[in-house]
Amino acid sequence: MNLDTLLSYEWGHMAPEFIILAVAALLSLLDLFLPKSYNRRSLAWIALVGILVAVVSLIGLLDSKSVSILHDTFRLDSFGKAFKLILLIGAACVILLAESYEPKEGLKEYRGEFYYLFLTGLLGAMVMTSSGDLITLFVGLELLSISSYILAGMRKKNPGSNEAAMKYVINGGISTAITLFGMSYLYGLSGTTNLKEMSGAMSAQAANGQFLYLYGLAFFMVLIGLSFKLASAPFHMWAPDVYQGSPTPVTAFLSVVSKTAGFVILLRIILTLFLTMPGDDTQKLSFLETHSIYISCLAGISIIAGNVIALRQRNIKRMFAYSSIAHAGYILVAISALGYFTFDAVWFYLLAYLLMNLGAFAVIQLITDSSHSEDIADFAGLYRRSPLLAAGFAVFILSLAGIPGTAGFIGKLNIFMNALMTDPGHFVLASIMIAGTVISYFYYFGIMTQMFFRPAASTEKIKVPAGIGAVVVLALAGTILFGVAPNTALDFLHNNFGSFNDFLK
């Protein structure tokens, strides 16, 4: 590759990534050279500005056509743009939470890296959304994972945080190994790492009935490896411990940005590689029709396990870990029932989930930090201590429970519609999902009972820091807006990203 080809690429399409990279680099340098006494909290604002600039540059790119640079390893198509937007908004909120984060022993000299590691993780996630090659896909995944491992152990003197980091590294390592194992089959059979070429090769081979079992195995392995990332049952064991032990902003990051990235990579791989692949040489069934049962099982087990185990939790972060497992299951329902509305359903649900979950974690962070405990009893009488905060948290919980008037309800509606309109309909999955929702009422409304029915342990008013307040207000506005007028989001999706027609081209 000579300089001319290098310059001929339309680098502008990577602008959001470059901006995040530059800010991350800038922050690490600042952290290195600033005097020790300097309060590194202000670095958070630089990070935030960086993310916002990246959002603006991404919006500038919305109108551009699908572009592929660097020998097809980086593609900016509507799929990438749509999900990058979610990732960026999520990361911006997480940075705001991190700005206000104050563990009881303090973050001291680690505060700087706390901020730029979020950015590197975000960068990894963004690369994943846009990669057209298994190598870049994997590099993005690892960048995200390694940043997350460090972030989970950010409270270096705290045993819980150390446990979380340790468990996360080990589980993450195993999952990476399994994913790579599956990918190695794909590469070995098709002879390329480029997704588009690979898809062609795979379809041709499958049409002749070649390697079908091996492709099935590869699909299975990749799916399992990635389901660690999604924290879907039965590969969810790490999630409760990691969510509980990590600093709360990191938990929020894992449950929103990292999970979104997991779904993005899963969709990319499934849709580019397996969607058009025939299931046998007679071409009657497609590969996905014969193999989507794996995804359905993951979805069903996640919904049941997540919701049922959450019933027993007293620790709020642990409860939300299980709740997030259940929500991963809901989204998997949409992916398992691939149909006309799948993209809409996944995108909208992730957006809604981002808003309601980040809002909830903002409140959780505030309460757990001020009471130095994570028991749900700390929420007792929140209504007395701070009616507005309690009302906000109630809205997030209602949205998570899928009550009408909130974004969570519309998200669930979309998923149901997608699951039921296919032929044959996914009635079992839809029933499991709705049963899971009803079970979830128990623990979601259990929090409500604490907040509204129980007397408060202390009458001390709660002071809301600016960062947390901003996240709560933003998430609240979004949750209600997209619940009452969902077409503000859906039209935006359709106008700017079409029906993701350019995805496979």
Partner: protein, 510 residues
């Protein structure tokens, strides 16, 4: 004004919520006044609509329709597909239900002066509940119906759980989970219809199910229609409630604060009946016909089961709770008869029981406030201490057991008339229930009013009904008697609805 009248009607209670935001939480009197006044616009508007309709005018002038949600980017091809409109409209049946809701809301807001704590939160939730209830009856598509339906769930959960009696939280969760299950089943039905027919508009669905529509990705098969109807029966069966899905409702009736029980027994349970008629009978008439015997049998079981258990209860509230179950059996009997008088009886029973149950539960609330018990053995001889209350209680019981000249009689008579035509044996068995009803109600009420002096009654200085409390009692009793004497005020508005249902059933004359 016409185009937004229904929206104003539905959302007028929300104005009250806004107003309440600006009242300090300690100003008890102002809060209660604001709460009561906020229910008045809906009442006035629904009375206006009622008289407008009785005047021979068409309600369709008030229909509203605005595009709300468009799923998928299919709009360019066919903008009707996968779209949910915000559409409200009224027909005679819905109008009656709206009027019932508005009347009971105002009366129960008046009854809420007995609430002892946190009035502000109480009335905010109360008004939200009213909005949900009003919307349910006007929604013209199933998604919108479901949304209003769920909106009633959340305030009711809090109202029961916070302002109820001793075991309130258990009752609230029981309410939430059973109803959550019911609405979950309902949501599945709605989404199957929506995903496969591409619309959730009731009118359009009626056509698609019975005549056939444009084939989309996947069809609604014949077998599926039966499945959907049975699912609807379960979903609304929880709400109604149909035995054996009724246990939650007993807890709610005993533990919830009296004004909320008034609304609950008076309106919320009736949503189940409304839904069965609107969706079950309206969208799936053919399938409903095939299942009608089962529905009638369920009705008879409900009637007898409720009546027998009401007979052995020691708590007056439990007697009334089981009596509600029993009376809802009559609705099912009327629907199972599937002829004009049966359906008319069912709808009459919905309205009439709404009024009677509200009256009785209001009086129970009054009695409980004075004597702190509703146990039958402790309440004997109330007529000396509280003559007015006892008198009205007796009147309510008479209406409930179906004394001619009161609303209960008309509805029971019509429902059974219908069933005797189609299935005399079943109707004969069911008619036993009427006798038991008389027995258990008289046993309970006579015991309370004229029975042996109860412990609680003798020891306390008693106040009888005060003037504020007289208002709900007199209004409810007046409605009950007027309907009993002059049932046309109900049957006239219902004509078009019943006509539509009968056409759906294939013009089977009643």
């Amino acid at each position: 004004m016409n185009e937004i009248l229904l929206s104003v009607l539905v959302f007028s209670p929300l104005i009250g919520i806004l107003a309440l935001c600006f009242i300090s939480k300690n100003q008890e009197k102002a809060i209660k006044w604001a709460g009561i006044l906020a229910t008045v616009p809906a009442l006035a508007l629904s009375l206006f609509l009622y008289s407008y309709y009785l005047g021979g005018n068409n309600l369709s002038a008030f229909s509203e329709k605005v595009r709300w949600i468009q799923f998928g980017s299919i709009a360019n091809a066919d903008s009707k597909l996968f779209a949910v409109d915000y559409e409200l409209a009224l027909d005679g049946f819905a109008l009656l239900m709206v009027l019932l809701t508005a009347v009971l809301s105002t009366l129960s807001a008046i009854a809420s002066i007995s609430i002892k704590k946190e009035w502000k939160g109480y009335f905010m939730l109360f008004l939200l509940l009213e909005t949900g209830m009003l919307g349910v009856f006007m929604a013209q598509n199933m998604v919108l119906f479901f949304i209003f339906f769920e909106i009633t769930l959340i305030p009711a959960f809090f109202l029961i759980g916070k302002w109820g009696y001793i075991e309130k939280e258990k009752a609230a969760f029981s309410f939430l989970i059973y109803n959550g299950f019911g609405s979950a089943v309902l949501l599945i039905v709605i989404m199957v219809l929506f995903a496969r027919a591409g619309t959730s508009n009731i009118e359009a669905l009626r056509y698609i199910i019975n005549v056939g529509g444009v084939p989309l990705v996947s069809p609604i098969t014949e077998g599926m229609k039966y499945g959907l109807l049975i699912a609807l029966l379960i979903a609304f069966g929880v709400k109604l409630p149909i035995f054996p899905l009724h246990t939650w409702m007993l807890r709610v009736h005993v533990q919830a604060p009296p004004p909320i029980v008034m609304l609950h027994a008076g309106v919320l349970l009736k949503i189940g009946a409304f839904g069965l008629i609107r969706f079950g009978l309206g969208i799936f008439p053919e399938q409903f016909k095939d299942l009608s015997v089962i529905i009638a049998v369920l009705g008879v079981i409900n009637l007898l089961y409720g009546a027998f258990l009401a007979f052995i209860q020691k708590e007056f509230k439990m007697v009334l709770a089981y009596s509600s179950i029993s009376h809802m059996g009559i609705v099912l009997i009327g629907l199972g008869a599937l002829n004009e008088s049966g359906i008319q009886g069912a709808i009459f029973q919905v309205v009439s029981h709404g009024l009677i149950a509200a009256l009785l539960f209001f009086l129970v609330g009054v009695i409980y406030e004075r004597v702190q018990t509703t146990s039958l053995s402790n309440l004997g001889g109330l007529s000396k201490a509280m003559p007015l209350t006892s008198g009205f209680l007796l009147a309510g019981a008479m209406a409930s057991l179906g004394l001619p000249g009161m609303s209960g009689f008309i509805s029971e008579f019509m429902a059974f008339l219908g069933l005797f035509k189609t299935d005399p044996l079943l109707a004969g068995i069911g008619a036993l229930g009427i006798i038991i009803t008389a027995v258990y109600l008289l046993r309970a009420v006579m015991g309370i009013t004229f029975g042996k002096q109860g412990v609680s009654v003798r020891t306390k200085a008693m106040r009888d009904l005060n003037s504020v409390e007289m208002v709900p009692v007199l209004v409810l009793l007046a409605f009950i008697v007027i309907i009993g004497i002059y049932p046309s005020i109900l049957s006239n508005p219902l004509e078009d609805t019943i006509q539509l249902i009968m056409t759906g059933l294939g013009g089977q004359a009643g």
